[in-house]
């Protein structure tokens, strides 16, 4: 803890004298920068995935939960009457905010992807669809089903529950995967920085011996390394984060027709979240290097 407060202070104060006592290292520094950068790049995508699948789960959950569909399957001559009857029942059902039968044009639009635009709906026994929007309290689905079966024999109520549940579960699982990826990336950064710091400490064993001989405390020696690796991780992750954001920006945005599926891109204030990635990398590097330095220094005279 003492080492940490000391190191934070010197990190902020920017003690260049302390940083200079450790010789500059060219190649390994590049590697640390590169590793932090590529991990930050990946983290941006994992974050985008988590947020997008979270949105997806929420959209599907909310939109589908508040709507239901009634199909009227009846011979053409009875279809109109049964639709009327079903709408009347819905008007007196509590929990229903609105209900309306889809027009021929709307049904045609729904079927067009499968049968083309030239379909003559009037001559086919296509079921009539009634869209039901529920109030926030929701409606008594089984009660409605009973009333419909008594009065409208051709009505089938579908509250979307059957296919909504697995979809929402899949989206939630996807979101979990995204967060697990971010956690793994964080731990990997910690492992890489620890290895790099360990290597730097061993490579500088002679420097450390000289510093100990002239009366440097462990804190002082550690902070020279901590400062260096923290700044490297911060810088590398910053560059990786910016590149990742650019890549996300360049993703094709979700089209109007597919808006139900939401894009992978960030939305609104979520654009600010990736800015945390370099900070997280810096904090991870700070803690990992500090721990590695304390461990290594204890073993030296």
């Amino acid at each position: 803890m003492k080492v940490q407060t000391f190191a934070i202070r010197s990190l902020l104060a920017g003690d260049r004298h302390a940083a200079r006592v450790v010789p500059p290292s060219g190649f390994t520094a590049q590697l640390t920068l590169f590793a932090a950068g590529s991990m930050a790049f990946l983290a941006v995508f994992a974050l985008a995935l988590s947020l997008a699948s979270g949105r997806l789960a929420q959209n599907w959950g909310e939109e589908l939960a508040r709507s239901a569909t009634i199909r009227i399957i009846a011979p053409l001559d009875q279809r109109g009457a049964q639709t009327e009857a079903a709408l009347r029942i819905l008007q007196t059902t509590s929990g229903v905010e609105s209900a309306r039968a889809l027009s021929d044009d709307e049904q045609q639009a729904l079927l067009a992807p499968w049968f083309g635009n030239d379909l003559a709906l009037d001559s086919l026994p296509v079921p009539r669809l009634i869209e039901v929007i529920e109030t926030a309290q929701g409606m008594d689905v089984s009660g409605l089903r009973l009333r419909l079966s008594a009065e409208v024999p051709g009505a089938v109520l579908d509250d979307h529950e059957r296919w909504r549940t697995p979809l929402v579960r899949a989206a939630a699982r996807l979101r979990l995967l995204g967060w697990v990826s971010i956690a793994l990336i964080t731990v990997t950064v910690a492992a890489m920085i620890t290895l790099a710091a360990q290597a730097a400490l061993s490579a500088n064993a002679q420097v450390i011996a000289v510093l100990r001989l002239v009366g440097a405390t462990d804190d002082y020696i550690a902070q020279a390394f901590v400062r260096r690796f923290t700044l490297r991780a911060l810088g590398g992750a910053g560059v990786g984060m910016v590149l990742g954001m650019i890549a996300v920006l360049l993703l094709p945005s979700a089209s109007e027709a597919g808006s139900f599926l939401t894009g992978l891109s960030f939305r609104g204030w979520h654009w600010a979240l990736p800015l945390c990635i370099p900070l997280l990398a810096g904090v991870v590097a700070f803690l990992a290097t500090g721990a590695a330095a304390r461990r290594t220094l204890r073993e030296l005279a």
Binding site: V21, P24, T217, R298
Partner: protein, 225 residues
């Protein structure tokens, strides 16, 4: 200042030093001699906390080394200047920065000691080499730089382990004079050397006591030198 009481030190199986009692009083000047491998360097290391005794007590400035934390040892080393035969520097820093390294690591920046630093550089004759990197220095220059680094904190004790080991006679005389001057300024000096002519040369200028390590023990050498 530095006190050893019935100290023993063993490496692995064999005992290298045993039953050593020694007291370095303020302002004293000691030589430590004995054949190679007798334990001179080990004894020096016991004196600045680089090694812990396997038996007995070492007291540095009144505190038992066994009770000292790593940070306390660091503070002790700011009061003890150490010069080695194969002295190490930070090779990426120039001579001035290396000499002022003890100031840097103790949080006092070299600029603050500007005047003193210049004086010290002149005293050891390295003013001309101030900007050189350590690998560019000759053996004698390295030893003088090491001495300057050892005394820049104005330590109470200077420990020199074979300081004249790989430099010529004239240069070692010069180094010896510097150490004698330090002693006259009140510093406690302990020089480990196997070079008897160096000890004889010193005796003409300073009241020096000669300690000899033989058969794992330390004894005060007589006037036979």
């Amino acid at each position: 200042m530095i006190e050893l009481e019935n100290v023993a030190y063993s490496y692995g199986g064999g005992e290298l030093l045993s039953d050593i009692s020694l007291k370095l009083a303020p302002g004293s000047f000691h030589f430590l001699t004995g054949p190679s491998g007798a334990g001179k360097t080990t004894l020096m290391k016991l004196c600045y906390g680089a090694l812990l005794p396997t038996a007995g007590h070492v007291r540095l400035f009144g505190a038992d080394v066994r009770g000292l934390e790593r940070d306390d040892i660091a503070l002790v080393r700011r009061r003890v200047g150490v010069v080695y035969q194969d002295v190490q520097f930070l090779d990426h820093l120039n001579v001035t920065e290396n000499i002022s390294l003890p100031l840097t690591v103790s949080g006092r920046h070299a600029e603050a000691a500007g005047g003193d630093l210049g004086e010290l550089m002149t005293w050891v004759g390295l003013t001309e080499r101030a900007d050189a990197l350590p690998p560019e220095l000759s053996g004698g220059e390295r030893q003088r730089a090491a001495l300057a680094r050892a005394v820049i904190m104005s330590p109470d004790v200077v420990l020199a382990d074979e300081p004249t080991g790989n430099i010529d006679w004239e240069m070692s005389q010069r180094l010896l004079r510097l150490l004698i001057e330090l002693n006259k300024m009140g510093k406690t000096v302990l020089i480990a050397t196997h070079d008897l002519s160096l000890i004889r040369a010193a005796k003409a200028h300073v009241q020096a006591r000669v300690l000899r390590i033989a058969n794992r023990r330390i004894q005060l050498a007589g006037a036979d030198l």
